[in-house]
Subunit: 184 residues, 2 copies
DNA sequence: TCGATTACCTGTAGAGCGGTAGGTTTCGTT
DNA sequence: AACGAAACCTACCGCTCTACAGGTAATCGA
Protein backbone atom coordinates (compact mmCIF):
# COMPACT_ATOMS: atom_id res chain seq x y z
CA UNK A 1 0.00 0.00 0.00
CA UNK A 2 1.33 3.42 0.95
CA UNK A 3 4.26 1.99 2.88
CA UNK A 4 5.23 -0.03 -0.19
CA UNK A 5 5.26 3.12 -2.25
CA UNK A 6 7.45 5.05 0.15
CA UNK A 7 9.83 2.17 0.28
CA UNK A 8 10.01 2.16 -3.49
CA UNK A 9 10.72 5.86 -3.58
CA UNK A 10 13.46 5.40 -1.02
CA UNK A 11 14.99 2.68 -3.17
CA UNK A 12 14.92 4.98 -6.15
CA UNK A 13 16.54 7.83 -4.25
CA UNK A 14 19.27 5.49 -3.10
CA UNK A 15 19.89 4.36 -6.66
CA UNK A 16 19.91 7.96 -7.82
CA UNK A 17 22.59 8.76 -5.26
CA UNK A 18 24.74 6.03 -6.70
CA UNK A 19 24.26 7.00 -10.30
CA UNK A 20 24.91 10.67 -9.58
CA UNK A 21 28.10 9.68 -7.80
CA UNK A 22 29.19 7.85 -10.93
CA UNK A 23 28.10 10.29 -13.61
CA UNK A 24 27.01 13.54 -11.98
CA UNK A 25 23.51 14.93 -12.24
CA UNK A 26 23.67 15.87 -15.90
CA UNK A 27 25.23 12.56 -16.78
CA UNK A 28 22.78 10.53 -14.72
CA UNK A 29 19.99 9.30 -16.95
CA UNK A 30 16.63 8.31 -15.58
CA UNK A 31 16.97 5.04 -17.42
CA UNK A 32 20.18 4.22 -15.56
CA UNK A 33 18.57 4.92 -12.21
CA UNK A 34 15.48 2.94 -13.16
CA UNK A 35 17.48 -0.05 -14.28
CA UNK A 36 19.22 -0.18 -10.92
CA UNK A 37 15.92 -0.70 -9.13
CA UNK A 38 14.46 -2.99 -11.77
CA UNK A 39 12.13 -0.50 -13.39
CA UNK A 40 11.78 1.05 -16.78
CA UNK A 41 12.46 4.75 -17.11
CA UNK A 42 8.73 5.40 -17.45
CA UNK A 43 8.03 3.35 -14.38
CA UNK A 44 10.38 5.58 -12.46
CA UNK A 45 8.61 8.66 -13.77
CA UNK A 46 5.48 7.37 -12.09
CA UNK A 47 7.11 7.96 -8.71
CA UNK A 48 8.97 11.15 -9.61
CA UNK A 49 7.28 13.13 -12.38
CA UNK A 50 10.48 14.82 -13.59
CA UNK A 51 14.21 14.38 -13.26
CA UNK A 52 14.39 17.54 -11.21
CA UNK A 53 11.83 16.16 -8.76
CA UNK A 54 14.11 13.22 -8.21
CA UNK A 55 17.04 15.53 -7.55
CA UNK A 56 14.97 17.44 -5.01
CA UNK A 57 14.25 14.17 -3.24
CA UNK A 58 17.96 13.37 -3.20
CA UNK A 59 18.76 16.73 -1.65
CA UNK A 60 15.99 16.35 0.90
CA UNK A 61 17.39 13.00 1.86
CA UNK A 62 20.72 14.65 2.49
CA UNK A 63 19.12 17.27 4.68
CA UNK A 64 17.37 14.62 6.71
CA UNK A 65 20.67 12.84 7.05
CA UNK A 66 22.83 15.60 8.44
CA UNK A 67 20.12 17.22 10.48
CA UNK A 68 20.70 14.74 13.26
CA UNK A 69 17.99 16.05 15.55
CA UNK A 70 19.01 18.37 18.34
CA UNK A 71 22.59 17.29 18.23
CA UNK A 72 24.64 20.24 19.24
CA UNK A 73 27.79 19.56 17.32
CA UNK A 74 31.08 19.90 19.06
CA UNK A 75 34.49 20.29 17.52
CA UNK A 76 35.61 16.81 18.43
CA UNK A 77 32.47 15.41 16.84
CA UNK A 78 33.39 17.15 13.61
CA UNK A 79 36.62 15.20 13.54
CA UNK A 80 34.65 12.01 14.06
CA UNK A 81 32.28 13.01 11.26
CA UNK A 82 35.15 13.44 8.84
CA UNK A 83 36.51 10.08 9.88
CA UNK A 84 33.10 8.55 9.25
CA UNK A 85 32.85 10.23 5.87
CA UNK A 86 36.15 8.70 4.89
CA UNK A 87 34.40 5.35 5.09
CA UNK A 88 31.52 6.37 2.85
CA UNK A 89 33.06 7.59 -0.39
CA UNK A 90 29.85 7.17 -2.38
CA UNK A 91 27.96 9.81 -0.44
CA UNK A 92 30.89 12.20 -0.50
CA UNK A 93 31.30 11.68 -4.20
CA UNK A 94 27.64 12.34 -4.91
CA UNK A 95 27.60 15.67 -3.17
CA UNK A 96 31.02 16.73 -4.34
CA UNK A 97 29.90 16.14 -7.90
CA UNK A 98 26.66 17.99 -7.31
CA UNK A 99 28.45 20.89 -5.65
CA UNK A 100 30.74 21.22 -8.65
CA UNK A 101 27.88 21.21 -11.08
CA UNK A 102 25.84 23.59 -8.99
CA UNK A 103 28.09 26.54 -9.69
CA UNK A 104 27.07 26.45 -13.35
CA UNK A 105 24.26 28.63 -14.62
CA UNK A 106 20.72 27.67 -13.87
CA UNK A 107 21.65 24.42 -12.19
CA UNK A 108 18.69 23.05 -10.24
CA UNK A 109 20.82 22.45 -7.14
CA UNK A 110 22.39 25.89 -7.05
CA UNK A 111 19.89 27.50 -4.72
CA UNK A 112 20.00 24.47 -2.48
CA UNK A 113 23.74 24.68 -2.01
CA UNK A 114 23.76 28.43 -1.57
CA UNK A 115 21.27 28.18 1.26
CA UNK A 116 22.91 25.13 2.67
CA UNK A 117 26.27 26.83 2.96
CA UNK A 118 24.76 29.87 4.63
CA UNK A 119 23.20 27.54 7.16
CA UNK A 120 26.29 25.40 7.62
CA UNK A 121 28.55 28.40 8.14
CA UNK A 122 26.19 29.66 10.82
CA UNK A 123 26.17 26.25 12.46
CA UNK A 124 29.92 26.04 12.42
CA UNK A 125 30.19 29.49 13.93
CA UNK A 126 27.93 28.29 16.72
CA UNK A 127 30.08 25.25 17.26
CA UNK A 128 33.20 27.36 17.49
CA UNK A 129 31.56 29.82 19.81
CA UNK A 130 30.37 27.05 22.09
CA UNK A 131 33.90 25.70 22.23
CA UNK A 132 35.95 28.87 22.50
CA UNK A 133 33.67 31.83 23.15
CA UNK A 134 33.76 34.99 21.07
CA UNK A 135 37.42 34.66 20.20
CA UNK A 136 39.23 31.57 19.10
CA UNK A 137 42.62 31.01 20.72
CA UNK A 138 44.16 32.17 17.47
CA UNK A 139 42.31 35.46 17.68
CA UNK A 140 39.72 34.84 14.98
CA UNK A 141 36.04 35.37 15.62
CA UNK A 142 33.84 32.30 15.16
CA UNK A 143 32.24 33.97 12.15
CA UNK A 144 35.58 34.24 10.42
CA UNK A 145 36.68 30.79 11.40
CA UNK A 146 33.53 29.12 10.09
CA UNK A 147 34.08 29.65 6.34
CA UNK A 148 37.59 28.28 6.74
CA UNK A 149 36.32 25.22 8.55
CA UNK A 150 33.80 24.52 5.82
CA UNK A 151 36.34 25.19 3.09
CA UNK A 152 38.82 22.74 4.57
CA UNK A 153 36.22 20.00 4.82
CA UNK A 154 35.13 20.41 1.21
CA UNK A 155 38.55 21.00 -0.23
CA UNK A 156 39.99 17.95 1.46
CA UNK A 157 37.17 15.85 0.10
CA UNK A 158 38.09 16.66 -3.48
CA UNK A 159 41.74 15.90 -2.93
CA UNK A 160 40.84 12.69 -1.17
CA UNK A 161 38.35 11.53 -3.79
CA UNK A 162 40.89 12.07 -6.53
CA UNK A 163 43.72 10.33 -4.70
CA UNK A 164 42.73 8.58 -1.49
CA UNK A 165 46.15 6.96 -1.16
CA UNK A 166 47.93 10.27 -1.02
CA UNK A 167 45.58 12.26 1.15
CA UNK A 168 44.89 11.48 4.77
CA UNK A 169 41.63 13.38 5.01
CA UNK A 170 40.85 12.80 8.68
CA UNK A 171 44.43 13.45 9.70
CA UNK A 172 44.63 16.67 7.75
CA UNK A 173 41.34 17.81 9.21
CA UNK A 174 42.63 17.19 12.73
CA UNK A 175 45.70 19.24 11.84
CA UNK A 176 43.42 22.07 10.88
CA UNK A 177 41.38 21.83 14.07
CA UNK A 178 44.59 21.96 16.06
CA UNK A 179 45.56 25.06 14.13
CA UNK A 180 42.27 26.72 15.00
CA UNK A 181 42.62 25.80 18.64
CA UNK A 182 46.18 26.99 19.14
CA UNK A 183 47.04 30.16 20.94
CA UNK A 184 48.27 32.94 18.75
CA UNK B 1 48.62 30.55 -42.52
CA UNK B 2 49.83 28.61 -39.50
CA UNK B 3 49.66 31.64 -37.25
CA UNK B 4 46.05 32.17 -38.32
CA UNK B 5 45.26 28.63 -37.36
CA UNK B 6 46.80 28.86 -33.95
CA UNK B 7 44.94 32.05 -33.32
CA UNK B 8 41.71 30.36 -34.26
CA UNK B 9 42.41 27.48 -31.92
CA UNK B 10 43.12 29.94 -29.12
CA UNK B 11 39.80 31.66 -29.80
CA UNK B 12 38.02 28.33 -29.61
CA UNK B 13 39.71 27.40 -26.36
CA UNK B 14 38.70 30.73 -24.89
CA UNK B 15 35.12 30.16 -25.95
CA UNK B 16 35.20 26.64 -24.54
CA UNK B 17 36.35 28.03 -21.20
CA UNK B 18 33.32 30.28 -21.13
CA UNK B 19 30.82 27.63 -22.11
CA UNK B 20 32.24 25.14 -19.62
CA UNK B 21 31.92 27.79 -16.92
CA UNK B 22 28.27 28.14 -17.79
CA UNK B 23 27.27 24.53 -18.30
CA UNK B 24 30.10 22.28 -17.18
CA UNK B 25 31.96 19.94 -19.53
CA UNK B 26 29.13 17.48 -19.99
CA UNK B 27 26.67 20.27 -20.52
CA UNK B 28 28.90 22.17 -22.91
CA UNK B 29 27.96 21.28 -26.48
CA UNK B 30 30.39 21.70 -29.33
CA UNK B 31 27.69 23.64 -31.15
CA UNK B 32 27.52 26.20 -28.35
CA UNK B 33 31.28 26.68 -28.39
CA UNK B 34 31.32 26.90 -32.17
CA UNK B 35 28.57 29.49 -32.28
CA UNK B 36 30.53 31.71 -29.92
CA UNK B 37 33.40 31.94 -32.38
CA UNK B 38 31.18 32.12 -35.45
CA UNK B 39 31.68 28.58 -36.67
CA UNK B 40 29.48 25.60 -37.23
CA UNK B 41 29.97 22.61 -34.96
CA UNK B 42 31.58 20.75 -37.84
CA UNK B 43 33.90 23.64 -38.49
CA UNK B 44 35.07 23.44 -34.91
CA UNK B 45 35.73 19.73 -35.27
CA UNK B 46 38.19 20.58 -37.99
CA UNK B 47 40.43 22.21 -35.38
CA UNK B 48 39.76 19.73 -32.58
CA UNK B 49 38.83 16.28 -33.82
CA UNK B 50 36.82 15.31 -30.72
CA UNK B 51 35.24 17.01 -27.77
CA UNK B 52 37.82 15.45 -25.52
CA UNK B 53 40.64 16.91 -27.59
CA UNK B 54 39.15 20.32 -26.95
CA UNK B 55 39.05 19.63 -23.22
CA UNK B 56 42.70 18.62 -23.29
CA UNK B 57 43.53 21.92 -24.94
CA UNK B 58 41.60 23.76 -22.25
CA UNK B 59 43.53 21.97 -19.52
CA UNK B 60 46.84 22.62 -21.27
CA UNK B 61 45.97 26.28 -21.45
CA UNK B 62 45.45 26.26 -17.71
CA UNK B 63 48.83 24.64 -17.16
CA UNK B 64 50.51 27.25 -19.27
CA UNK B 65 48.72 29.92 -17.32
CA UNK B 66 49.71 28.96 -13.80
CA UNK B 67 53.16 27.76 -14.69
CA UNK B 68 54.43 31.31 -14.58
CA UNK B 69 57.98 30.50 -15.51
CA UNK B 70 60.51 30.28 -12.73
CA UNK B 71 58.37 32.18 -10.33
CA UNK B 72 59.17 30.88 -6.93
CA UNK B 73 55.90 31.49 -5.20
CA UNK B 74 55.92 33.07 -1.82
CA UNK B 75 53.19 33.06 0.76
CA UNK B 76 52.36 36.72 0.29
CA UNK B 77 52.08 36.15 -3.45
CA UNK B 78 49.48 33.45 -2.79
CA UNK B 79 47.32 36.02 -1.05
CA UNK B 80 47.71 38.28 -4.05
CA UNK B 81 46.78 35.39 -6.35
CA UNK B 82 43.57 34.77 -4.47
CA UNK B 83 42.77 38.45 -4.67
CA UNK B 84 43.38 38.35 -8.39
CA UNK B 85 41.21 35.28 -8.76
CA UNK B 86 38.37 37.09 -7.03
CA UNK B 87 38.33 39.42 -10.03
CA UNK B 88 38.13 36.62 -12.59
CA UNK B 89 35.12 34.53 -11.67
CA UNK B 90 34.81 32.95 -15.11
CA UNK B 91 38.12 31.12 -14.84
CA UNK B 92 37.44 30.01 -11.30
CA UNK B 93 34.02 28.80 -12.27
CA UNK B 94 35.34 26.80 -15.20
CA UNK B 95 37.81 24.87 -13.13
CA UNK B 96 35.59 24.48 -10.12
CA UNK B 97 32.96 22.95 -12.37
CA UNK B 98 35.54 20.70 -14.00
CA UNK B 99 36.97 19.65 -10.66
CA UNK B 100 33.51 18.65 -9.47
CA UNK B 101 32.82 16.63 -12.57
CA UNK B 102 36.24 15.05 -12.52
CA UNK B 103 35.52 12.97 -9.43
CA UNK B 104 32.93 10.98 -11.40
CA UNK B 105 33.87 7.72 -13.03
CA UNK B 106 35.83 7.77 -16.21
CA UNK B 107 35.78 11.53 -16.51
CA UNK B 108 38.38 12.67 -19.05
CA UNK B 109 39.77 15.29 -16.67
CA UNK B 110 40.15 12.99 -13.71
CA UNK B 111 43.75 12.02 -14.34
CA UNK B 112 44.63 15.61 -15.06
CA UNK B 113 43.33 16.80 -11.72
CA UNK B 114 44.84 13.93 -9.79
CA UNK B 115 48.26 14.72 -11.15
CA UNK B 116 47.76 18.42 -10.84
CA UNK B 117 46.96 18.19 -7.15
CA UNK B 118 49.97 16.02 -6.48
CA UNK B 119 52.08 18.67 -8.14
CA UNK B 120 50.37 21.61 -6.48
CA UNK B 121 50.66 20.07 -3.04
CA UNK B 122 54.37 19.59 -3.60
CA UNK B 123 54.72 23.17 -4.78
CA UNK B 124 52.86 24.49 -1.77
CA UNK B 125 55.05 22.45 0.54
CA UNK B 126 58.06 24.09 -1.11
CA UNK B 127 56.56 27.52 -0.61
CA UNK B 128 55.93 26.85 3.04
CA UNK B 129 59.39 25.42 3.54
CA UNK B 130 60.97 28.42 1.88
CA UNK B 131 59.03 30.69 4.19
CA UNK B 132 59.28 28.84 7.48
CA UNK B 133 61.79 26.03 7.22
CA UNK B 134 60.99 22.45 8.19
CA UNK B 135 58.47 23.43 10.84
CA UNK B 136 55.75 26.02 10.52
CA UNK B 137 55.37 28.30 13.54
CA UNK B 138 52.29 26.27 14.42
CA UNK B 139 54.36 23.09 14.53
CA UNK B 140 53.12 21.51 11.31
CA UNK B 141 55.52 20.24 8.69
CA UNK B 142 55.22 21.85 5.26
CA UNK B 143 53.97 18.53 3.87
CA UNK B 144 51.07 18.53 6.27
CA UNK B 145 50.31 22.20 5.81
CA UNK B 146 50.20 21.96 2.03
CA UNK B 147 46.98 19.91 1.64
CA UNK B 148 45.25 22.30 4.02
CA UNK B 149 46.41 25.28 2.04
CA UNK B 150 45.10 23.79 -1.17
CA UNK B 151 41.86 22.72 0.46
CA UNK B 152 41.18 26.19 1.77
CA UNK B 153 41.76 27.77 -1.62
CA UNK B 154 39.39 25.37 -3.37
CA UNK B 155 36.77 25.26 -0.67
CA UNK B 156 36.58 29.01 -0.43
CA UNK B 157 36.13 29.22 -4.17
CA UNK B 158 32.98 27.12 -4.06
CA UNK B 159 31.49 29.14 -1.23
CA UNK B 160 32.40 32.35 -2.99
CA UNK B 161 31.02 31.29 -6.38
CA UNK B 162 27.73 30.30 -4.81
CA UNK B 163 27.39 33.48 -2.77
CA UNK B 164 29.98 36.16 -3.49
CA UNK B 165 28.16 38.70 -1.33
CA UNK B 166 28.45 36.58 1.78
CA UNK B 167 31.97 35.26 1.40
CA UNK B 168 35.06 37.42 1.49
CA UNK B 169 37.36 34.98 -0.23
CA UNK B 170 40.60 36.97 -0.09
CA UNK B 171 39.97 38.02 3.49
CA UNK B 172 39.25 34.49 4.62
CA UNK B 173 42.35 33.25 2.86
CA UNK B 174 44.47 35.83 4.64
CA UNK B 175 42.93 34.66 7.90
CA UNK B 176 44.07 31.17 7.10
CA UNK B 177 47.59 32.27 6.22
CA UNK B 178 47.79 34.11 9.52
CA UNK B 179 46.67 30.93 11.23
CA UNK B 180 49.44 28.96 9.53
CA UNK B 181 52.02 31.57 10.45
CA UNK B 182 51.14 31.90 14.11
CA UNK B 183 53.22 30.43 16.88
CA UNK B 184 51.69 27.45 18.53
C1' DT C 1 49.85 29.11 -62.98
C1' DC C 2 49.04 24.91 -61.02
C1' DG C 3 48.49 21.52 -57.41
C1' DA C 4 47.91 20.68 -52.84
C1' DT C 5 46.73 21.90 -48.42
C1' DT C 6 43.79 24.34 -45.25
C1' DA C 7 39.49 25.98 -43.52
C1' DC C 8 35.49 25.67 -43.64
C1' DC C 9 30.52 24.15 -45.16
C1' DT C 10 26.00 20.94 -45.82
C1' DG C 11 24.08 16.67 -44.97
C1' DT C 12 23.33 12.95 -42.18
C1' DA C 13 23.93 8.93 -39.36
C1' DG C 14 23.15 6.92 -34.89
C1' DA C 15 22.44 7.06 -30.33
C1' DG C 16 20.50 8.87 -26.07
C1' DC C 17 17.79 12.10 -23.65
C1' DG C 18 13.38 13.62 -20.83
C1' DG C 19 8.73 13.38 -21.13
C1' DT C 20 3.72 12.14 -22.81
C1' DA C 21 -0.18 8.99 -23.92
C1' DG C 22 -2.53 5.31 -23.02
C1' DG C 23 -3.13 0.62 -21.92
C1' DT C 24 -2.74 -3.41 -18.52
C1' DT C 25 -2.00 -5.75 -14.30
C1' DT C 26 -2.15 -5.89 -9.38
C1' DC C 27 -4.35 -5.22 -5.15
C1' DG C 28 -6.83 -3.33 -1.19
C1' DT C 29 -11.56 -1.87 -0.08
C1' DT C 30 -16.26 -2.35 0.04
C1' DA D 1 -17.56 -10.23 -6.61
C1' DA D 2 -17.06 -5.57 -8.21
C1' DC D 3 -14.83 -1.31 -8.24
C1' DG D 4 -11.21 2.10 -8.30
C1' DA D 5 -6.77 3.46 -7.66
C1' DA D 6 -2.06 2.66 -7.71
C1' DA D 7 1.99 0.61 -10.09
C1' DC D 8 4.08 -0.23 -14.05
C1' DC D 9 4.52 -1.24 -18.99
C1' DT D 10 4.84 -0.47 -24.33
C1' DA D 11 5.03 2.80 -27.77
C1' DC D 12 6.41 6.95 -29.28
C1' DC D 13 7.59 12.02 -29.93
C1' DG D 14 10.80 15.65 -30.52
C1' DC D 15 14.98 17.14 -29.44
C1' DT D 16 20.02 17.23 -28.82
C1' DC D 17 24.30 15.32 -28.93
C1' DT D 18 28.99 13.78 -31.11
C1' DA D 19 30.95 12.37 -35.06
C1' DC D 20 31.60 11.02 -40.00
C1' DA D 21 31.48 11.81 -45.17
C1' DG D 22 32.09 14.49 -48.72
C1' DG D 23 32.07 18.84 -51.17
C1' DT D 24 33.77 23.81 -51.98
C1' DA D 25 36.24 27.93 -51.85
C1' DA D 26 40.28 30.30 -50.56
C1' DT D 27 45.24 30.30 -50.00
C1' DC D 28 49.98 29.29 -50.49
C1' DG D 29 54.35 27.31 -52.20
C1' DA D 30 56.77 25.84 -56.27
Amino acid sequence: MRARSEERRAEIVRAALEVIAERGYRGASLAAVAERVGLTQQGLLHHFPTKEALLVAVLKERDRWDAVPDTQWRVDLLAALVEYNAMRPAIIQTFSALLGESVTEGHPAREYFTERYTRVRANMADVLRAEYGDRLPSGLTPERGAPLLVAVMDGLQYQWLLDPESVDMPGAFRDFLALLGEEA
